[in-house]
């Protein structure tokens, strides 16, 4: 059901064309001359050409998986944008990249989001750096979807500028609704429950969304994260438990139907940051 655009075979080089910051978040734009236009919700395995390694603990070594934030056609190839939060040796190195430097990538990979079923209205729910795939999905939905975003605090809230007209919640109440983004979701569903929920964010948020979808018998599509070595089904490292057993998030996800999950695992992803 979900959309999937095939990736060119092998890793390829792209060049950083722009670097922006939104609070602590870094957005890198790159020109991918050989790439196709990805589907919303698909991801790429990313690594810096230079100094990939030699950071904290002599890491990173493996590429890192990132949902594409946005993509636009270009006379040659595509322009891609990615969103980063500096939380580990891999993301740290990626956040350092400057215009003109090379970004290596494999992708687009995995399954993207599928359109809402039965004329339902799409509701986008994002948390922190997990808002990334919702930005490109919002564009695919002609900017008509209601977006609800949660951030830790005022410092992180500028991430909301990536998704115009989104309602914001902050944990500390410094911007927007004081509390969880899932409280905004609950209010939206109370107002008009004929919705399909699209969510990406921290595991606890996704689990709350999953439970809400299950209780209200609503379809939901969750973009999950898992420690991942390869991104194309080779390593079997990124499995998540579903009602049908383990599935590889890289080839069977990263977007999964909420209904196939018994719970969103709280497994830490520290080794993939």
């Amino acid at each position: 059901m979900n959309s999937r655009v095939l990736a060119p075979f092998g890793r390829r080089a792209t060049r950083i064309t722009r670097r922006d910051t939104h609070g602590p978040y870094v957005v890198l734009s790159c020109h991918d001359p050989a790439g196709p236009l990805p589907a919303a919700g698909q991801f790429y395995m990313l690594a810096a050409r230079e100094r990939w390694g030699g950071g904290d603990g002599e890491r990173p070594f493996l590429p890192r998986a990132f949902s594409v934030l946005d993509a636009e056609p270009h006379p040659q190839g595509v322009h891609l944008r990615f969103l980063f939060d500096d939380v580990g040796p891999g993301t740290h190195r990626l956040c350092e990249l400057e215009v003109g430097e090379e970004l290596l990538l494999v992708g687009p990979l995995g399954n993207g989001f599928a359109p809402p079923r039965d004329g339902r209205r799409p509701l986008l729910v994002g948390g922190g750096v997990g808002i990334a795939p919702l930005v490109i999905w919002q564009r695919a939905l002609n900017f008509e979807a209601t977006a609800l975003l949660g951030f830790r605090d005022r410092a992180h809230a500028p991430g909301a500028s990536l998704l115009p007209r989104a309602a914001v919640a902050t944990d500390d109440g410094s911007v927007g609704h004081a509390g969880l983004v899932t409280e905004l979701l609950e209010a939206e569903l109370d107002r008009d429950g004929d919705a399909e929920v699209y969510a990406c964010g921290p595991p606890a948020m996704l689990e709350a969304v999953r439970v809400m979808c299950a209780q209200r018998e609503l379809p939901g599509q969750l973009a999950l994260e898992s420690g991942m070595a390869c991104g194309f089904g080779a390593c079997f490292g990124c499995v998540v438990p579903t009602r049908d057993g383990y599935v590889r998030l890289c080839v069977d996800g990263p977007v999964l139907e909420a209904a196939v999950l018994e719970a969103v695992g709280l497994e830490a992803v520290a080794s993939c940051r």
Partner: protein, 296 residues
């Protein structure tokens, strides 16, 4: 740079390490381009066991300095599932198929060997006696007597080439290799991963779901090179060398150490086309004129 290996004529000496490249999943990601630019001269499939296995609980990976630790636990569809679902797809690959099998007893290995022995799609079999993630994997591959008994049971069951994949987690790897050769192995492959562990920075407990796992990547390259050389000296059958190969230069080192073929494993995680790149680089390299250690 064509090469003969156990009666197979291969286009170049670079194959994949078992369990590091799922050609079926890769086709889902890359489509027909995978077959057009298939990176290996033979394809070694992930370990097949008699019964289906879910694999180990996550987390299954930990990134180390220049490598990673995995505790995947050999998830697979089992023999019946492999024969009905995977084999027809893998038979369409543009290169010979080597099937890697593991059993929890000699009888189980024998059943697997017999089942594949009848299949014309299968060019050779690799016996996994070395996976450190599964309790019994250690036993068969760590002891020459165990290998002798295992080969004594399975060698008469097939005329297909049998490759024994050696574990580096043995006290005397060349002795195990000699036992495999004496009992009729057509080739040996090494190294499998080295047993390793990571500590969860938050809880202080082992990070990996299975407690320990196998270390691979450039971090183990020097260990692999030494073991490949020691085994190559000890046996006359061909050796498949692997461990941390990232570049043509690393592959050449293993060939100079005595390997006939070289396998790429972890590097494929970083670049799915790495095998083809390594083969291309290797084709343009010339062995050094002076043996390592001489002169200078």
């Amino acid at each position: 740079m064509p090469v003969s290996f156990c009666g197979l004529e291969l286009e170049h000496p670079v194959i994949n390490a078992s369990g590091t490249f799922d050609a079926i999943a890769a086709e889902r990601a890359f489509g027909a381009a995978l077959h057009q630019r298939f990176p290996f001269s033979a394809y070694v499939s992930k370990t097949v066991t008699l019964k289906p296995r879910q694999g180990n609980p996550p987390p299954r990976l930990w990134e180390t300095a220049a490598g990673l630790i995995n505790s995947i636990g050999l998830p697979n569809k089992g023999l019946a599932g492999y024969l009905s679902q995977d084999l027809p797809k893998l038979a369409r690959l543009p290169v010979p198929l080597i099937v890697n099998v593991m059993g929890f007893s000699r009888e189980e290995v024998g059943e697997l060997v017999m089942a594949f022995s009848e299949r014309s799609e299968v060019a050779a079999l690799e016996l996994n006696v070395s996976c450190p993630n599964v309790e019994t994997g250690m036993l068969m591959g760590a002891d020459p007597g165990e290998i002798t008994a295992l080969l004594g049971h399975v060698r008469p069951l097939t005329s297909k080439p049998l490759i024994v994949k050696l574990t580096p987690n043995a006290s005397d790897v060349p002795a195990v290799a000699r036992a495999a050769e004496a009992a009729g192995a057509d080739a040996v492959s090494l190294i499998n991963t080295l047993r390793g562990m990571a500590v969860d920075p938050v809880t202080g407990r082992p990070w990996l779901g299975a407690g320990t796992g196998g270390v691979s990547g450039p971090a183990v390259r020097a260990v692999a090179l030494a073991q490949v050389q020691a085994v190559s000296v000890a046996v006359d059958v061909p050796v498949v060398g692997m461990g941390g190969v990232q570049r043509g230069r690393d592959a050449l080192d293993l060939l100079l150490a005595g390997a006939t073929l070289v396998a790429v494993g972890t590097e494929s995680f970083r670049d799915p086309a790495a095998g083809g790149r390594v083969a291309g680089e290797l084709a343009h390299l010339r062995p050094p004129m002076v043996a390592a250690g001489a002169g200078e």
